[in-house]
């Protein structure tokens, strides 16, 4: 009696699980009707688009100058415009500025602004507004961080006349035009800032194709079309207001939920599709998947060079030789992300392909180095020297974002083969920041989104911008010097040459170990057309429309 009941219950349960499993497949065949390709259809204005965002808007802050994490920046692209737009071939085209000149010494940029631009609250966009914005970024009370890094050696802004503005830097700053294309240097309404003060982040006012309608804390933000919009960038698909009437962004951090709400059509767009769902969605005719490489410093491992034994480059080489990064990346990302060979991601203008396939797993080499340096293999499978086990403590606070911890878990197995113990220590962000600042760790890892190779100066130089960053804890005068040169050099070809040296040097000395190249993915129901990406791979909804 008892046994049969258990079997019965197990059967019921099994059916439930089976149903759940089946629902992972594509929806019931939508074979009815002709397959419209959509590429040549005319955009139909109107409609509401709901976007399930991978992440949240931190602190419900939509202040362009307080930009921090990527999800917030992705959303803000629809609210704020920039002076210029950068095309994939790295040329700079007009946007809010119609033309510009750079002074011969490279320290001043004079922009001629469009004369028909207005903020969402009616305030005219002019040279005064530009000055207000740049000065605001510089002002410590604003607590800007990324935006502040991106204006580099900014000194002052001069209003030449109502629509001409001159921006002055203390030294030449090559990344400026590229940075000026970003949301982080987008324009906020001076009137709104003065009116709302500290509450401005929850009441953002820009010049963008969408304006804020309603912000529901920790949940979603609703935008409506800006009907006066008529100043789209040079590479836009059309001019005039956006096609969509309304854009709602719901925060859905949990990846399985995000994919589910797209599949159930509760939302029409979802981003950062996890690898296991990416393949299925791409094959599903009911959905479109677009991918763009996120310009960034790839997720890389940084051994703490200021701590024994990782101050010895041979030890770092041994560590890297034990890893089979290619296989690990393929296992975790199922082919949707490729192995990274350089700190910079491949689409960055100074990326050097010379590093591709230059090293691979070499367990013998690793063992040879470790033996030579006196690390004896113990009976427990791990090496030790002078009674101390070869343990690498990896501190982390972001969790399994982009499956990074899963990747590290594979590395743990690979390192064990040569007798190195890698331990993951998960910490709340307060503790993590403190230990990282104090250098109390063996390994950290991270990525950093940035469109310019100057980001390497922030990560590897002792002279980096805005106080201590130097995640690599490097202390290499040669590297510092090259990074300073790259920072000050304005000729793109010369910069490319300098950064080629820098990337090769970093890899040669194992200052960082890059792992995978992140592909930012956006999946939408097939009725949604026209989503594009700007250069750093933030999604642009200005040309998006919904096929009825």
């Amino acid at each position: 009696m008892k046994l049969s009941t258990i079997r019965y219950a197990a059967a019921v349960f099994g059916v439930v699980i089976a149903i759940a499993g089946c629902s992972g497949n594509t929806e019931t065949g939508d074979g009815a009707g002709p397959q419209t390709t959509g590429e040549t259809s005319k955009p139909t204005p109107g409609g509401e688009l709901v976007w399930a965002l991978a992440g949240t808007i931190t602190n419900d802050s939509l202040d362009a100058h307080k930009a921090g994490f990527a999800p917030t920046t992705r959303v803000m692209r629809s609210l704020y415009d920039s002076l210029v737009v950068e095309l994939p071939d790295h040329t700079i085209q007009p946007w809010l500025a119609t033309s510009w000149e750079v002074s011969p010494d490279g320290k001043s940029y004079t922009f001629h602004l469009r004369q028909d631009v207005k903020f969402h609250d009616g305030t005219p966009f002019n040279a005064e507004a530009v000055k207000f914005n740049f000065d605001r970024i510089k002002d410590p009370a604003t607590k800007a961080s990324i935006s502040l890094n991106e204006i580099g050696p900014y000194e002052s802004t001069e209003v030449i006349d109502e629509y001409t503005v001159k921006i002055n830097f203390k030294t030449p700053f090559a990344p400026f035009l590229s940075n000026a294309a970003k949301v982080d240097l987008g324009f906020v309404s001076p009137t709104a800032v003065k009116k709302y003060g500290d509450a401005y982040p929850q009441n953002p006012v820009g010049t963008g194709p969408f304006k804020l309608a309603k912000l529901t804390p920790s949940t979603q933000v609703e935008f409506v079309k800006n009907p006066d919009y008529n100043w789209a960038p040079a590479n836009a698909g059309h001019q005039g207001p956006a096609y969509l009437d309304k854009l709602t962004v719901k925060y859905v951090d949990e990846e399985s939920t995000r994919v589910s709400v797209l599949q159930s059509r509760q939302v029409q767009v979802a981003d950062i599709i996890p690898p296991q769902n990416l393949v299925a969605l791409k094959a599903d005719k009911n959905f479109n998947v677009q991918e763009a490489e996120l310009l960034q410093v790839n997720f890389s491992l940084y051994l703490n060079q200021q701590r024994e034994p990782w101050n010895d480059v041979s030890m770092r080489e041994a560590f890297r030789a034990a890893l089979d990064i290619g296989t690990a990346v393929k296992t975790i990302y199922l082919g949707t992300s490729k192995q990274a060979w350089s700190p910079l991601s491949p689409q960055q203008f100074a990326y050097t392909p010379s590093l591709e396939n230059t090293y691979k797993q070499d367990v013998n080499k690793a063992n040879e180095i470790l033996d030579r340096l006196g690390w004896k293999m113990g009976a427990d499978g791990y090496r030790s020297k002078n009674g101390k086990r070869l343990t690498v403590e990896f501190i982390d606070t972001q969790g399994n974002r982009e499956k990074r911890l899963d990747l590290i878990s594979i590395f743990i197995q690979q390192l064990k083969q040569v007798g190195i113990e890698l331990k993951i220590v998960s910490l709340p962000s307060g503790t993590y920041s403190e230990r990282r600042l104090k250098g109390e760790y063996d390994l950290v890892a991270g990525s950093q989104f940035s469109g310019d190779p100057d980001i390497l100066r922030q990560l590897f130089s002792t002279k980096g911008p805005v106080g201590p960053n130097n995640i690599a804890r490097a202390n290499d005068p040669q590297l510092d010097q090259w990074l300073e040169e790259g920072y000050l050099e304005t000729d793109p070809e010369k910069r490319k040459a300098i950064y080629k040296k820098v990337q090769e040097y970093i890899i040669q000395n194992v200052y960082s170990i890059p792992t995978y190249v992140f592909q930012y993915s956006v999946a939408s129901v097939k009725e949604v057309q026209g989503i594009t990406f700007d250069y750093p791979a933030w999604p642009v909804f200005y040309d998006a429309w919904i096929k009825k």
């Binding site: 009941t5 219950a9 602190n59 500290d198 920790s218 949940t219 503790t431």
Partner: protein, 307 residues
Amino acid sequence: MAKYIVNRLLASIPVIIGSLTIVFLIIHWLPGDPAQMIAGDDAAPERVAFLREQFGLNRPLWQQYLSYLWDSLRGDFGVSFANSQPVLDRLLAQLPATLSLAAMSILLAVVLGVVLGVLSAVYKNRLFDYIVRVISLLGVSMPKFWLGILLILIFSVHFQLLPAIGNGSFKQLIMPAFALGVTGAGMLARMIRNSVLEVIGEPFVVTLRAKGLADRVVLYKHVLRNALLPAITVLGTLLGEMLSGAVVTETVFSRQGLGKMVVDAINQKDIPVIQAAILVTAVFTVVCNLLVDISYSYIDPRVRKSS
């Protein structure tokens, strides 16, 4: 009875103050400087110092503690370190979602738990009993996030019946409340089953039946009243669990709520938010337990008399 209530109320005050004090101490002794965290890893030392001053972190600990207690009593929870918004506003904005989720989950847990528990006892050792016992075991064992995702896959993606995310409508409440309440339902069902079986075996029940009372009357009027007592105690614990389980449920279903707010605040060491949330939770737990105690004395005259 009134004296009983007043006694319990007075006893609650040191509990609340005690929990506030402990939380205050823990927050301040945790590593990590809130000013550094808000300013960011690469901020200049001057900005960090500026923020520390702004947040009043340079004052001696006892001063921060007293001003915290005094402000809290007046309902002034200060301003969030992270976004300079008054904490009270944020709290009030998140409260309705959490309360509706908690209320619905408890309701579900109680209804399901009591019904299944009683029936399970009545049909003891029959098929129904076994099914309920297995289901309640599952309910207690299933992780809430796993169950939540499973529910979304079945009801949202496959059957397209219910929305997966959001917190405005009743429809959006069903799945999260179920995911959250199922554990409680499982616990209550087992507890009530055992309790009812125990009471049914007591001599007074035999007497009642011998008197000629109908089985149903015996069950509902006499047995249940006695059997529910231990379950009511569990209810108090369940309420506490609701609040903590809410964090996971809120994440999976992308709902607003206190749980998520607190987790974010802890990550950022946003001290005013953490303290306010703990105060609300402590008061809520104390009030719930107070209500549980009072209902005890209402249901069980022996408690009433002895106090």
